[in-house]
């Protein structure tokens, strides 16, 4: 585990989960794995924070869950995005986009100094 790890800013985990689930019904373990793979191990979500987050999103009706079977034939709880979840994801991504551009801009400006 040599790759650098980042602390996720508040609220970002929800967004990442929503995005991951947006690709299709998926269970909690797979979400953790995908986040880790896609972020090239930068984002590591311990189960201790993943599951409370999933349950919170489910309670806010951004996700729905169903019990289904994995390819290996085991029972698992699959999460799926709801319409509200999708709307939330879009709004969230857009504002994240804006925020990160702005943050990048300001940081870039600071490096170059005033012209």
């Amino acid at each position: 585990m040599t790759s650098p790890k980042c602390d996720l800013p508040q609220g970002t985990l929800d967004l990442l989960i929503l995005k991951t689930v947006a690709l299709g019904p998926v269970h909690g373990y797979a979400i953790a794995q995908r986040l880790q793979q896609i972020s090239r191990d930068v984002v590591q979500v311990p189960g201790g924070s993943l599951y409370p987050a999933l349950h919170r999103l489910e309670n806010r009706k951004l996700l729905v869950a169903e019990w289904g079977q994995t390819e290996t034939g085991r029972d698992a709880k699959f999460y799926r995005l709801t319409r509200r979840g999708r709307a939330h994801l879009e709004a969230g991504s857009a504002s994240w986009q804006r925020l990160s551009e702005t943050v990048g801009l300001i940081l870039g400006m600071a490096e170059g100094g005033p012209r």
């Binding site: 269970h27 373990y29 311990p46 189960g47 201790g48 599951y51 409370p52 349950h55 085991r74 709880k77």
Partner: protein, 872 residues
């Protein structure tokens, strides 16, 4: 017993388990695929995943209304815990049941008698107005005069209206067997002042009152009893004292009004002209309705001024008035008794709570292992405290249920506290009482659960998985527990002292010298309206008394215008002693009794000086009188009253001078709660032969059981006049016992509370000491190994218990001195000596405490050092 389904684990919990274990299994499988041994993989996953219980708890925390779920789960847990410790549960629930049950029952009485609205319109604005004829500062309520009522009504500025009632006698005859019924005359505006309506028919008007209409309003009880509840009673002419009255209305079942709940007949007062101007005729009871925005105090101020002005102008004896709330007059002494008893029952519940707090505290320490495990599994301090509190709530809830079961029979006993003047009410378990009970259960749960909950959660965190319970927490918890013991002992001492004071007062009242020999004295009343003319009345009375004396078993018989122990007899007459300035008549009032010659010997009155009436007095023109000690002391302090003369007020030059021939030891003429008053006894048949109320009260001294000759007496009376009813047949003992109802009940209740408090306090002491011995077994072992004798160990532990007891005793006695002042209203003017009560209470407490200490202390002294040290 199974828990209801909604209290059991639900599917969500199962699913949460499945989801998390799926995650863990997948992770382990993945690691195993990458070549890690399964054991290693599991360890790594556990480390990475964190404590499974904690993750679960966090998942649950995000559920909506999860607190409710937690609460239910805690209840389930508490339930299991209690079932696992049935002994503890039984003690705790029984303790709480006593506390909550007692308080609930007392509250129901308090609520019914003092809080619930009286059955009148806007009852809080109703007040009674009394004359204050006393000379000194101690205010004594006296009945006002009709003339005062008229003037007050005309001139007052604080009442919307004022009504008045006056005593009367009523014999119903004609339509059925002659019957004497409680009756009252009332001014025509009584109904509108009270704001009451008849059940059927109508009430009489002010015009009917003025015109002397012969109409009557009857009670629901009389309607049902004598007229079969038939509506055609309206318009019927009934014979009241041989005069036809028309029944115009029936009052509803719940109606009652002062001075007694059982008044059956209301008739117009129709004051004759002379009474409308007589300020000396004090037999009214006056009720008034306050104007909106006027307080009782303002009304009293205004009325005092008005009364002084009225009486100063027209009459030579200005006096003040007292304005009391109607509730106060109806509740009477009961009010104070209820307040005191409610406070006592609250104190008992408090003791129960303190006791339980202690018990839970000890248990909390004993449960430190369990707590430590729960902390290790991820339970936070808040969760632990909530769990503890839930356990307390479950206990309190069960205690409240058991308490209600206790309260119901208790309420039947307490209904005897409902005053005579209030009626017909029943103490019931309604929503108010239930709500109160629930509230007191929750308050109790917080009171006894909070400290152990906080301490328990703290202990849980501190101890970790450390072995044993002998850490620093020990000393601190002892300190806390010890203060709890001191508190509960102090409260118990307070209750015991109060109980002792009441008991002493009760005994004092029981032994009151009534001035009358109580044993085997039968009393009853015969209405004498048929014998208005003096000679006929005198002949009839003489004949009746002769016949009664002739009955085997009768020793003597006499008549009086008013039998002793008459509560609320506020009638009074002004008098004037010869040789004193005429102004001395101001504010000098005395009770007047008209008696036959044999009355004093019959009741067993005792002379202080002079003589009783003699047969020769009846034929003598010289008017004679006998006065009581109070009269003599007030007017002839330090010298003999014999030979002195007095006359009654309002008689002017016409009145007779009465010469005092005897002074009797005080006869308790008025109610037990009232102070003795000056009284004057005149011989029936002397002087003004039309004077005042006829002597219809008969006293019969018997050699046999009084009840056994009642029918013989009735036959004797009927042999002279077969239409003559006799009523209020009671022995003097019964009248006396009846008057002592409130002190008897309050003493019994206070005594019960005090004994329960003592029991709880000693259980508490025993519990804490036992626990300390258990906790310190190894320490005792060490000390014994170092040479301490078992005697020394015994002393150490007994001393500790006794020190606590003495501390509690000292504080409790301090409290008692404060609370005894509040009790004084219940002590009937009697000032019991605190010292003997305190001494007895201290002795009882110390011996009970000694017993409670001895058990644990002996156990400590028998510790075998070898075993004790090995148990370390």
């Amino acid at each position: 017993m199974m828990l209801p389904r909604w209290l059991r684990r639900d599917d969500r919990e199962v699913n949460l388990d499945r989801e998390l274990s799926f995650h863990i299994e997948e992770k382990v499988a993945e690691l195993v695929r990458s070549g890690v041994s399964e054991e290693d993989a599991r360890r790594r996953v556990r480390l990475e995943f964190g404590a499974a219980e904690q993750v679960k708890e966090e998942c649950r925390d995000v559920r909506p209304a999860y607190w409710a779920e937690t609460f239910l789960r805690d209840i389930r847990y508490a339930w299991r815990n209690l079932r696992r410790n049935p002994g503890f549960a039984a003690v705790a629930i029984a303790t709480l049941a006593l506390g909550i049950g007692g308080l609930t029952a007392m509250f129901s009485a308090f609520d019914t008698i003092l809080i619930r609205p009286l059955p009148y319109a806007d009852p809080n604005r109703l007040v009674m107005i009394w004359d204050d004829l006393s000379k000194s500062d101690d205010r004594t309520k006296s009945d006002p005069a009709p003339a005062e009522w008229l003037e007050w009504r005309r001139l007052n500025t604080v009442f919307t209206d004022i009504a008045s009632t006056q005593p009367t006698e009523a014999t119903l005859s004609g339509d059925a067997a002659p019957e004497q019924v409680p009756a009252r005359k009332a001014t025509g505006n009584l109904w509108s002042v009270l704001g009451v309506k008849p059940l059927i028919g109508r009430v009489f008007s002010e015009e009917e009152d003025r015109n002397g209409a012969r109409v009557a309003v009857i009670s629901y009880g009389l309607w049902q009893r004598r007229y079969g509840g038939s509506p055609d009673v309206l318009g019927r002419k009934i014979d009241v004292n041989d005069t036809p009255y028309e029944v115009i209305g029936v009052m509803p079942h719940e109606f009652y009004f002062l001075p007694a709940r059982d008044i059956d007949l209301w008739m117009p007062a129709s004051f004759p002209a002379w009474m409308r101007t007589a300020f000396g005729w004090h037999d009214e009871q006056v009720v008034a309705r306050l104007k909106t925005g006027v307080t009782r105090e303002q009304a009293e101020q205004s009325m005092v001024a008005l009364s002084l002005q009225l009486t100063a102008k027209a009459f030579p004896r200005p006096h003040q008035t007292i304005v009391t709330s109607l509730r106060e007059d109806i509740a009477g002494k009961t009010q104070t008794a209820l307040v005191v008893l409610l406070a006592a029952s609250a104190a008992l519940l408090l003791i129960a709570c303190v006791n339980l707090a202690n018990l839970l505290m000890s248990r909390g320490l004993a449960r430190s292992r369990e707590l430590a495990v729960r902390v290790a599994l991820g339970a936070g301090r808040g969760r632990l405290a909530a769990q503890f509190l839930t356990e307390s709530l479950v206990l309190a809830g069960l205690g409240a249920l058991a308490g209600l079961a206790l309260a119901m029979p208790a309420m039947r006993f307490l209904s005897r506290l409902v005053p005579e003047t209030m009626g017909p009410v029943r103490l019931t378990l309604d929503w108010r009482v239930l709500a109160f009970s629930a509230a007191s259960a929750i308050a109790a749960a917080l009171a006894f659960g909070l400290a152990p909950a906080l301490r328990g959660s703290w202990t849980g965190l501190q101890h970790g998985l450390r072995e044993g319970g002998r850490g620093a927490a020990g000393a601190r918890s002892y300190w806390f527990q010890h203060s709890l013991i001191v508190i509960e002992t102090a409260l118990a001492v307070m209750l015991l002292t109060s109980g002792g004071l009441l008991l002493e007062t009760f005994r004092h009242l029981q032994n009151t010298d009534l001035g009358v020999r109580r044993e085997k004295l039968l009393t009853f009343e015969i209405p004498l309206f048929r014998y208005k003319e003096f000679h006929r009345r005198d002949a009839f009375l003489t004949a009746v008394l002769e016949k009664i004396r002739a009955i085997p078993g009768v020793i003597n018989a006499g008549a009086t215008s008013q039998l002793p122990l008459k509560p609320n007899d506020l009638s009074a007459t002004f008098y004037w002693i010869a040789g004193q300035p005429h102004e001395s008549e101001r504010n000098q009032v005395a009770l007047i009794r008209l008696v036959t010659r044999d009355y004093f010997p019959t009741i067993g009155a005792r002379l202080r000086e002079g003589r009783f009436f003699e047969e020769s007095d009846r034929h003598s023109d010289a008017q004679v009188a006998i006065v009581n000690e109070t009269f003599a002391n007030r007017n002839f302090a330090g010298r003999s009253a014999i030979g002195a003369q007095f006359k009654f007020g309002d008689t002017g030059d016409k009145g007779y001078w009465y010469r005092i021939v005897g002074v009797v030891k005080k006869i308790h003429e008025v109610g037990m709660e009232e102070a003795a008053r000056p009284a004057v006894y005149l011989l029936h048949g002397q002087g003004n032969k039309q004077l005042m109320i006829p002597p219809g009260g008969i006293a019969v001294r018997t050699a046999v059981e009084p009840a056994s000759i009642v029918s013989a007496i009735r036959q004797a009376i009927w042999s002279i006049d077969k239409n003559q009813p006799m009523w209020r047949v009671q022995t003097l003992k019964d009248i006396f016992a009846h008057q002592l109802t409130t002190p008897t009940e309050s003493t019994a209740l206070m005594g019960a509370f005090a004994l329960l408090a003592l029991l709880l306090a000693s259980i508490g002491l025993y519990g804490v000491l036992s626990y300390a011995v258990t906790q310190r077994t190894s320490e005792i072992g060490v000390r014994m190994a170092l040479g301490a004798t078992s005697r020394e160990i015994l002393l150490t532990f007994s001393k500790r218990g006794l020190v606590l007891t003495v501390a509690g005793l000292a504080i409790g006695l301090g409290l008692s001195i404060v609370t005894s002042r509040f009790l004084s209203a219940l002590l009937y003017g009697f000032r019991p000596d605190l010292i003997p009560t305190i001494t007895v209470v201290s002795l009882i407490l110390l011996s009970v405490a000694l017993l409670a200490c001895l058990g644990p202390a002996r156990r400590a002294s028998r510790v075998d050092p070898v075993i004790a040290l090995r148990s370390e």
